[in-house]
Amino acid sequence: MSETDSVILDTAARMFADLSTQEVVNAAEKGEWPAALWQAIEESGLHLTWVPEASGGVGADLLDGFAVLKAAGAAALPVPLAETLLAGWLLGRAGLEVPQGPLTVARGRHRLENGLVSGAALAVPHARNAAQILVLAEGEAGLHVAALARGDCALREGQSLAGEPWDAVEFSAARPVACAPIADLDADQLDAMGALIRAVQAAGALETALELTIQYAGERVQFGRPIGKFQAVQHMIADFAGEVAALSAAADAAAEAVAATGGAIDAGAWVEIATAKTRLGRAASNGPAVAHQVHGAMGFTYEHRLHHFTRRAWAWRDEFGTETRWARRLGEAVLSWGPDQLWPKITAVTDK
């Protein structure tokens, strides 16, 4: 990141710390829209980070957006900033203008017939809060990006493991607010971008969970000393630190690979993303296990803040494909490389 970039990140981190407090996150889970937080985001333009200037955005580097999303994960941000960034990225790639308000994206490849879009998707994050829902729709003239007004979709409200809105969405012959063909992106690559975003957010969330764990281990006294002085506890925390460091490294590598191609998910970037999402599966299983073990019953209560971060990590490991699905597909790619290309493919990422 350049210096101007770190200004974006510092501003974001400060705003998130001030406005994404425990009370705000809890209230959001109960259904209260954090208006002040979202307003501050819109005023700062953070939600337009990935929108090209031509489409009314900031046109900042992709890495800036990823850095902001890591900070958002670290603050358990209860608004669809990640989803709006993903939507803005998608609209920008299709050359469409970005509308006002929070946005979200429904996964999958939907149908486009006579200018009308039909389809359904499960677990669309923050659908109920979005002004528009973006979809990929296949028509006779190929794949399109279509923006649907929320009011034109049927929503069945649900919640993620983290208590965030995960709504089932159905749209039947809905007339899109905007629609444009897209040539260099398919549903698979959109999923990959989503998976990468989750890996980056989870790296942030698990870093915060680790910090809370270190702090608690230093404060909680049993048998006459802080539990962090017991070697058994120390070693668990060291493992946790390793998981977090590995996830961050894998997520950084994938973000850099996507940024290097200017946002095209080519075969090389796809492998980096598969690596990061696979690593997220591990980190989100092993990390929170330690966090909760160290926090004891206190961390199991709703009153303690730990769950804002562990529950998000658990939700995100399931979204955009589990580690099992990603590992299988990566394994498929590895088999296609064959014995002679296995090692060269592994080193290719640093040799460009």
Partner: protein
Amino acid sequence: MSTSRFRFPGVTMPPAARALREEVREFLAEERASGGFEPMADCWAAGFSAEFSRKLGQRGWLGMTWPKQYGGHERSFLERYVVTEEMLAAGAPVMAHWIADRQSGTQMLRHACEEVKAAALPRMARGETFCAIGMSEPNTGSDLASVSTRAERVEGGWQVNGRKIWSTGAHGEGCDYMIALVRTAPADPKERHQGLSQLIIDLKAPGVTVRGIEDIGGQLHFNETLFEDVFVPDSHLLGEAGKGWSLVVGELALERSGPERFLSSFIALREAMEVLSRNPDDRTREVLGHLVAQIKTLRRMSLGIAGLLQEGRSPETEAALVKDIATRFERELIEQLRIVLPDEVLLDSSGVLPRLVREAVLRVPSSTLRGGTNEVLKGMIVRQLGLR
């Protein structure tokens, strides 16, 4: 992404390193095709070939980062990384020079007198002189400050008595030196790190006896080395007498983050690819995906440390963290590979792949021991986290 406790910056290989990689790959392909070596698992700790090491020396691939005046090649840490990772990925017999190239030479460069550097380093860079590690003793493992090998002041130098153990390669042809951590002043229980010194011991000197110790795989790669009234000249003291602890800590840091911590058994995975491609099921795909994802992540972290070293930083805790997760991955690699391999490989005791799998299984317990046990490494990590 600035909040992280541990940072592993991305590394892009400079053009010189990329060109070097092609050169190394070509060399390895030719060597293997012409029978110059048979690939083996854990090749850096079990594949001794003085001849192969000399070939690398001739090509300028040993002592790569050292100054030219000492026979080095003044190349970058990243170029050295390329050579070492290519050797490991091919399972080449690099054990003979590994210790000299990785740590002993660098340690001498940092702390030895001019005379020793001028005499020893060029020969190491040519692959003619090898080194052994002299840290562990029969009663000293993780608690390294408890060493009891003694060096007493005598005229012109030191007289050494004691015993070192697990010194990899000490018996080998051309293994001339051991950098031994010895006690040069009595232990003070309050200041246990004081009074230790590092001495370069000539393993051919009178009073040195090297005895091979067979490992569980039947290999004679490590040793017990006995010192009975061994004379070590003053010139062979590293740094200052009594201040050896900080030196040995620096030496350990050189050991910890290299690609040998996660690529020891990579050759078994590579050689298994053909068998695994025949009728892959979902389980096989999943295992391969997980293993490659891990290798890629660990390589990113390990290279990040090489990048930090190139910037002149000393990321000791990061190195400990990488070694901890990398060496646990080494076990995972062979255990997972085993699960998806067919009987015809596991129950066969001939052929390259069955041999590699067996070597990897039998050698993997040492991964989480050598260079500092994972328990010691975790101690370093939590100290950095403020819990100790």
